[in-house]
C-alpha cells in the first residue's frame, strides 16, 4: 500500500497533465476530448495533496465533498473506499469530475494553488468514479441500496431529471422516501443529455449514473410535462405525493432582438445543441432529425459562455470551414471555463472578441448570408462587475456567414408559472425560494437549479437539489 511521501517530496511532484485526444483528430470526431488519468497518474497526483489540517478545498465545493479524505484513500489504493467517501456528498461524481469548474471552486482554494498548481481534484474525482462505474458494469447489481434507510412511506415528486433533480432524488431515496422523477423529454438527464456534447460528457456515463439511481429505487417517468401532462395539483391530490421538487431548468433561449434573427440559419444554442446531442442530427440521415449542413460552412457563435464553446466546437466537428466565437467583451470577461476556451482554440476555433452583431443579412428566401458587426471597447465596470462593452462609432463591418448560433443565455420557462400562479416568481420569471430550504411560496413545493438562479452550472444545480432534499426530509418529518 502506498503512502504519502514527505511534504518536501510532495511539493516536488508536478501536477499531472490530462491525457487528451490530439486537437486535429478530435475536432473531427465526437469522442471524449479528455481521456482520464491512468491508475499510476492518479496515484502520483493524489500524493501531491498536503492533507491540510484545515482543508480549504472543501470550502470551495458547493456540495462539500470530503476531498482530503478521498485523496487519502486513493493514496492508500482503496478506490472503493474513495468512491464511498465521495458518494457521501455527491451522487454523480463521474459527471461532476468532468463538468465542474474546479479551477473556480475546490482547486482555487487548494493551498498549493497559491504557489503553483493545485492538486487536480476534479480529474481525481473523475478517475475514482470511472473506475467504480467500470467495476459496477462487470459485477452487476450488487446491493446498491444496502445503505438506504427503511421506507418512510412518504412520496416525493421530482420534476425534471437534470442535475438538480437527480441530486435531489439521490438524497431523498437515501433517506428512505419513495421518489418519482418526471421528465418532459424522451430521454433522462436534462441538460446533461440535450445540452452538454458527447465529447465533453459521454452520454453512456450519464446513463450509468442514472441507472445507479434507478437500481437504488428511484422511479423515472419520461414524456411527462408537469403542468401539462399532469398538473402540480394532481400530483398532490390524485397521485398521493407528499412533496415536490421543481428542477425544470432554464427555459426560453434569449435572442438579442436585432433584425434578421428570424432568418433560416439563425439558431439558438439550445436548438443547435439539442438537434446534435439529443436528436443525433450529426448522424443524419440514419437519425431522422435534420440540421443545416455545417460542412465547409462559416459558423459564428454569439456569446462567451460554456454553451457558446460547446456550440462552436460542435460546429467544427461537423465540418465547418470556419468556426468562430463573436463576443462583445474581451477574453478576460468570458464566463466560459478556461479549459473550454483553450480546447476550442486548440481545435482551430477563431475568437473575435470585442465584437457585437448589429443585424443579420439574408437572401430573398430569408436564408442567412452574413452579419453586420460593430467593434467594441471596454468602459467602466457595470453591475456584474465586468467592464462594460461600448460600441466604437464608425467601426461597423460585414462578414459572410452560413450559420449563426446565438448563445447568450436563457430566460425562464413559463410553463409552470402559467398553470400555477401561486408559485411566486421574480421579474425574470424565476421561481422565488428561501435560499436556506429552497422552499417556494407553496407549501410542500421546493425548487432549485436554473429555474431559480437562471443559467448556472451543473454543480450549483446539484447543490440546490441537495439543499432542497434536506429541507424536504425535514418537512416530511413534520407531516
Amino acid at each position: 500500500m502506498a503512502e504519502f511521501p514527505s511534504k518536501k517530496e510532495r511539493m516536488q511532484i508536478k501536477r499531472h497533465p490530462m491525457p487528451e485526444q490530439d486537437p486535429q483528430a478530435r475536432n473531427k470526431n465526437f469522442e471524449e476530448v479528455t481521456c482520464g488519468y491512468t491508475a499510476e497518474m492518479a496515484l502520483e497526483e493524489a500524493k501531491r495533496c498536503l492533507q491540510c489540517k484545515i482543508p480549504t478545498c472543501i470550502d470551495g465545493c458547493p456540495v462539500s465533498i470530503k476531498i482530503d479524505q478521498f485523496l487519502e484513500l486513493i493514496v492508500a489504493e482503496d478506490l472503493p473506499g474513495a468512491m464511498n467517501k465521495i458518494k457521501e456528498d455527491n451522487f454523480l461524481p463521474a459527471i461532476c469530475g468532468r463538468v465542474c469548474p474546479q479551477e473556480k471552486q475546490c482547486e482555487q482554494q487548494c493551498v498549493l494553488s497559491k504557489k503553483g498548481d493545485s492538486v487536480a481534484i476534479g480529474r481525481l474525482e473523475r478517475f475514482v468514479a470511472d473506475v467504480s462505474l467500470e467495476q459496477a458494469a462487470s459485477t452487476p447489481s450488487s446491493t446498491t441500496s444496502s445503505t438506504a434507510k427503511k421506507s418512510s412511506g412518504k412520496r416525493v415528486a421530482v420534476v425534471g431529471s437534470g442535475p438538480a433533480g437527480l441530486a435531489c432524488a439521490a438524497d431523498l431515496i437515501g433517506a428512505g422516501h419513495h421518489v418519482t422523477v418526471f421528465e418532459a423529454l424522451h430521454e433522462l438527464g436534462g441538460v446533461l443529455v440535450y445540452g452538454i456534447p458527447e465529447f465533453r460528457l459521454p452520454k453512456a456515463i450519464v446513463k450509468k449514473e442514472i441507472n445507479g439511481l434507478a437500481e437504488a429505487g428511484v422511479q423515472f417517468i419520461t414524456n411527462s410535462v408537469i403542468g401539462r401532462t399532469i398538473g402540480l395539483d394532481e400530483l398532490f391530490e390524485e397521485k398521493g405525493f407528499n412533496a415536490a421538487f421543481l428542477g425544470t431548468g432554464a427555459g426560453l433561449p434569449n435572442f438579442m432582438r436585432i433584425p434578421g434573427e428570424e432568418f433560416g440559419g439563425v439558431y439558438s444554442a439550445n436548438e443547435f445543441l439539442t438537434r446534435v446531442n439529443l436528436m443525433k442530427s450529426y448522424q443524419f440521415p440514419t437519425y431522422d432529425s435534420p440540421i443545416m449542413d455545417c460542412k465547409g460552412a462559416t459558423v459564428a457563435v454569439i456569446g462567451g459562455g460554456n454553451t457558446a464553446m460547446d456550440a462552436v466546437r460542435v460546429s467544427k466537428r461537423m465540418g465547418a470551414k470556419r468556426s468562430m466565437i463573436v463576443y462583445r467583451r474581451s477574453e478576460a470577461e468570458m464566463p466560459a471555463r478556461l479549459e473550454e476556451i483553450q480546447h476550442a482554440k486548440e481545435e482551430g476555433v477563431e475568437f473575435h472578441n470585442l465584437t457585437n452583431p448589429l443585424c443579420y443579412l439574408g437572401d430573398d428566401k430569408q436564408q442567412l448570408t452574413g452579419m453586420e458587426c460593430i467593434k467594441m471597447e471596454l468602459g467602466p465596470p457595470d453591475d456584474s462587475g465586468r467592464r462594460r462593452p461600448i460600441p466604437i462609432e464608425g467601426s461597423e463591418f460585414t462578414t459572410e456567414l452560413d450559420i449563426v448560433i446565438v448563445a447568450i443565455g436563457n430566460g425562464s420557462n413559463p410553463l409552470l408559472s402559467q398553470t400555477n400562479p401561486e408559485i411566486e416568481t421574480n421579474k425574470w420569471g424565476n421561481i422565488v425560494v428561501n435560499p436556506k430550504t429552497m422552499a417556494t411560496s407553496r407549501e410542500g413545493v421546493f425548487a432549485g437549479g436554473d429555474i431559480v438562479t437562471g443559467g448556472a452550472t451543473v454543480i450549483l444545480a446539484m447543490g440546490a437539489g441537495r439543499t432542497a432534499a434536506a429541507a424536504i426530509n425535514d418537512y416530511l418529518e413534520t407531516k
Binding site: 418532459a184 423529454l185 424522451h186 440535450y194 419520461t222 414524456n223 411527462s224 410535462v225 401539462r228 401532462t229 399532469i230 398538473g231 431548468g249 432554464a250 427555459g251 426560453l252 433561449p253 435572442f255 432582438r257 434573427e261 428570424e262 432568418f263 433560416g264 440559419g265 439558431y267 439558438s268 439550445n270 436548438e271 439539442t274 438537434r275 439529443l278 436528436m279 443525433k280 443524419f284 440521415p285 440514419t286 437519425y287 431522422d288 432529425s289 435534420p290 443545416m292 449542413d293 428566401k365 430569408q366 436564408q367 420557462n413 413559463p414 410553463l415 402559467q418
Partner: protein, 284 residues
C-alpha cells in the same frame, strides 16, 4: 411505448389514429397538440389533437403522409406502438360566445379545426364550417362537421365535390352578403390561412390561425418554433399554437418551414428506397 388502438385511412394519404395515452386524454383541451417520436432514430414532430376519449384513455390524431415520419406513421396499424408521445402541449383555444363563428379547415387542417369548432358550438356560437380540399377524395370529417354545424360548406380546388374553388370564395360570399361574422378560425396550408386573414382584415373580423412550425422539445426550451407575430418573436409551443391571423408574418413562416426541405426530401427518398428493397426481398 404508446399503443395504437385504432388506425384507419380517411383518404389515400390521410390516416386517423387513436393512441392510448390516458394522462393526455384526461387533460387535453381543443387547440392543443402532442409531440411524437416513432422510434429510437426518429425525429420529434408536433401534431394537433383532433379528439380525445378520457374514458377509454385515447387521443385521436389525423395524419397526412408527407415526409418520412408521417409516411412511416401512416404504415402503422392498430396494435402497433409509438415509442414516445408527450402532451398535451400549447395553449388551449380561447373560447367564448362570439356570436357567429366561421371554422375553416383546409385539407388535413379540418382535423385540427374540428375540435375547436365543436367547442365553439358548445360555447353557444352559431357555427359555420367550411371544409376544403384539393379534390373529393381528400375531404375528411364531412359528416362529423355537418352534424354539429349550423351551416356547412364543402369546397374542392378541382370541382369534384361541393363548390368549385377555394374556401375563401365561400368566406368572401358570406362577407359580401353582409353576414355578421364575429370570429373566424382558419387551419390548413399556410397560403390558405394567409388568404383567409387577408379576406377578413378589411372587415376587422377577429381571425385566429393555428401554426405548425418546426419544433423539437415543445416546452419552450429550443426556440426552433419561433414565429413573427406583430413583429415580435413568439414561441408557437408555449405562446401558441394559435395566433391572431392578422398579425402573423406568413412569409417568414413559409421560409422557416423550408429550411430543411432538401434534407427532408433526401430522408424520404432514402426511406422509400429501403421500403422498395424490403418489398423486393419479400417477393424473392
Amino acid at each position: 411505448m404508446f399503443k395504437i388502438k385504432k388506425a384507419e385511412f380517411l383518404s389515400a394519404d390521410v390516416k386517423l389514429f387513436e393512441i392510448v395515452a390516458p394522462e393526455i386524454a384526461k387533460r387535453r383541451q381543443a387547440g392543443q397538440f402532442i409531440i411524437l417520436r416513432l422510434d429510437e432514430q426518429g425525429e420529434r414532430i408536433p401534431l394537433t389533437i383532433a379528439d380525445s376519449n378520457p374514458e377509454q384513455g385515447t387521443v385521436t390524431i389525423i395524419v397526412q403522409g408527407i415526409g418520412k415520419t408521417t409516411k412511416s406513421l401512416n404504415q402503422k396499424e392498430s396494435g402497433d406502438s409509438i415509442m414516445d408521445v408527450v402532451g398535451p402541449l400549447g395553449k388551449a383555444s380561447h373560447m367564448e360566445k362570439f356570436g357567429t363563428a366561421v371554422c375553416i379547415g383546409g385539407g388535413v387542417g379540418s382535423a385540427i379545426a374540428y375540435p375547436t369548432a365543436v367547442a365553439l358550438k358548445e360555447a353557444g356560437n352559431h357555427v359555420i364550417t367550411i371544409n376544403g380540399a384539393r379534390n373529393k377524395d381528400l375531404i375528411i370529417l364531412e359528416e362529423e362537421m355537418k352534424q354539429f354545424s349550423d351551416e356547412s360548406y364543402i369546397t374542392t380546388d378541382d370541382g369534384s365535390y361541393g363548390h368549385h374553388g377555394f374556401v375563401t370564395d365561400i368566406l368572401q360570399k358570406l362577407i359580401d352578403e353582409k353576414r355578421e361574422l364575429n370570429f373566424v378560425l382558419a387551419i390548413g396550408p399556410i397560403p390558405m390561412m394567409r388568404a383567409v386573414a387577408e379576406a377578413t382584415r378589411p372587415h376587422n373580423i377577429q381571425t385566429v390561425v393555428s401554426l405548425n412550425p418546426i419544433m423539437i422539445d415543445g416546452t419552450g426550451m429550443c426556440g426552433g418554433c419561433r414565429v413573427l407575430v406583430d413583429g415580435d418573436s413568439k414561441f408557437a409551443c408555449v405562446d401558441g399554437p394559435e395566433f391572431d391571423g392578422h398579425k402573423v408574418d406568413f412569409t417568414n413562416l413559409i421560409n422557416r418551414n423550408r429550411i430543411y426541405q432538401g434534407l427532408e426530401q433526401e430522408s424520404l427518398k432514402q426511406h422509400e428506397c429501403q421500403l422498395l428493397e424490403q418489398a423486393d426481398k419479400k417477393e424473392e
